[in-house]
Symmetry: C2
Subunit: 379 residues, 2 copies
Amino acid sequence: MLDVLDVPDGPRGGTGSPGPGGGPVAVPAAGVLRRCRAVVRPALVDAIGGLHPWTGEMAAYALGWADTAGTPDPRGSEGKGVRQALAVLGAEAVGATAADAVPAAVAVELVHTFSLLHDDIMDADALRRQRPAVWRTYGTGPAVLAGDALLARAVTVLAGAPGDHAAGAVRRLCGTLDDLVSGQAEDLRFERRPWTGPGAVGPEQYRSMAENKTGALLGCALALGAVLGGAPDPTATAFERAGRHLGLAFQAVDDLLGLWGDPAATGKPVHADPRRGKKTYPVLAVLAGGGSAARELAALLPAPAPSPSSPPASSPGIDAATAERVAALVEEAGGRTATREEAHRQLEAACRALRTVPSARTAARELDILFTGLLDRTW
Amino acid sequence: MLDVLDVPDGPRGGTGSPGPGGGPVAVPAAGVLRRCRAVVRPALVDAIGGLHPWTGEMAAYALGWADTAGTPDPRGSEGKGVRQALAVLGAEAVGATAADAVPAAVAVELVHTFSLLHDDIMDADALRRQRPAVWRTYGTGPAVLAGDALLARAVTVLAGAPGDHAAGAVRRLCGTLDDLVSGQAEDLRFERRPWTGPGAVGPEQYRSMAENKTGALLGCALALGAVLGGAPDPTATAFERAGRHLGLAFQAVDDLLGLWGDPAATGKPVHADPRRGKKTYPVLAVLAGGGSAARELAALLPAPAPSPSSPPASSPGIDAATAERVAALVEEAGGRTATREEAHRQLEAACRALRTVPSARTAARELDILFTGLLDRTW
């Protein structure tokens, strides 16, 4: 990560870069995630197993558990399980057990998978974790259905949580679903809005979109774990705020990678975001700064997608040379620095929000490890 | 309706056919629906108003409230509001007020709109209530998003119902969502399965699909009204059973109209279902009966859609003359009679299930009016 974001000293998720002996160094965050996935896995398998066999097959494919023949996927395309880990740590932080968090962990993981599945349709993204997206493999209609099945199952699992906290948890998840959909709506609309002038997207609007689209579910995961763990409402709300800031930090790093990331590490083409005309923080920050750099940059950027109903793929985009010039110009004009600062600021705000809650020591340490480690995308 | 289904004597929803003076006769069911819509409308408007403006615009279009410019739709394409009415009557039947049912009524109406929106994408249906479907007007991606927004809002509204019954209501709605998605999955799979031989769809499998796809939400609507009205679980479950049978009766009438309905009344082409190769009860009943009629019929029917991921529209279908021959053959072989009998049987089972619950008199009468009136599609 060091080439993208200079994380300050403190608990680290590790870099995944070669260790002293040449082999990869241990990544503490990876260990935290692995432990949490192991706790949640049986219930997640149960939740998928209860689906209609066809939607279950698509869900297993979307989760990276199986290829299209339903056999375990040798490419190991499974996600890290960040959201389920946050739910587990949220419960443990308030003195409950990992088992208490499991319905919340399953719910947020299913909601995340649902949103990837539907967003890939909306964004016309053909690849997801180096494999064809569900809609490319099974067709658009079936992919819509599989997403619906996952969303329905997520709420079902959470509503069925034992104890007295299910109702409050469901209300919290519902608020997050509303936010998620609003965030995706904003993101789709942004692609059709101009870079400058009336109707242009400003960095503040971008941040609000990213908080809904990325931050809300991370915050919800942490909060739901605390809710099912019996925490009072203010604790859950503080955790939710922490997760939202984490999401904004995560998005800022994503934006850095989308402009300057190494294709070998990101799995995306070089200068992926400007090439497809995607509006991200570094570019919007420079444009908002005005002046000659902003004017020069605006002249290079592609026109927005032609109509509200046309898919994002219909955006004309720009060629590789222009994208390289965009990346250089954004860097010269301070967009890269501004985005690094945004990531740091949000990460610090996340950690501050966490520290407002007196947490069980081990969980607090693991949350610190996870929060900083998550911003490292090289492992 | 009389040309499609001879409803037995008893409370009637009315026929909408010319009355003695030549004008349309009053339709009691229409009055019941109108009263319930008026009770629910403000909360439904609020629920849509709380959406992101863009998804809200699509939702208002889907509900038939507005055209694409957001102005009231002069064509009046609003649905009857059957599900919201069932929720209201479910509460009133157990001695609660219509107001108690409102969150349930809003939730089921939003779920219904969500399912129409997504099903039209999956089924490649370009028209809905004589207007272009949402995905044709706004694009597939935005229509997916609008459906997601409606589903999320449905659960949000129900989870926020005042009193102590919201949690139980949400659990019941979740079970219904699972059933809805399973029913749609079955329906999509049926289009790719053969008419006869190994893997053929039998009438029992068809009934199970229709119960999930059509019956579950009708049953849920009635049950949720009762739940929010404070009814004990067995009452809600009896209501749910009643609504499921009603759904099966409704589907049987739909199948009769899809084969022999008057295009002027249905808004669909003549012999719409066989032309597009849709598997429905009358045809499946004849095929299941075997013999020469079944063999002759099977030879006329179109091949199933080629692959699991191809859209239903890729089914080859059959021409008008062949469809007419299919309709005649199904009628000769008893498929029309069998489907009428199915509709009667399910309507009677629905009314029987209703009568297992001692209900407030006015609501019981209105439910009777609604149950029989709903099978009449001519008004």
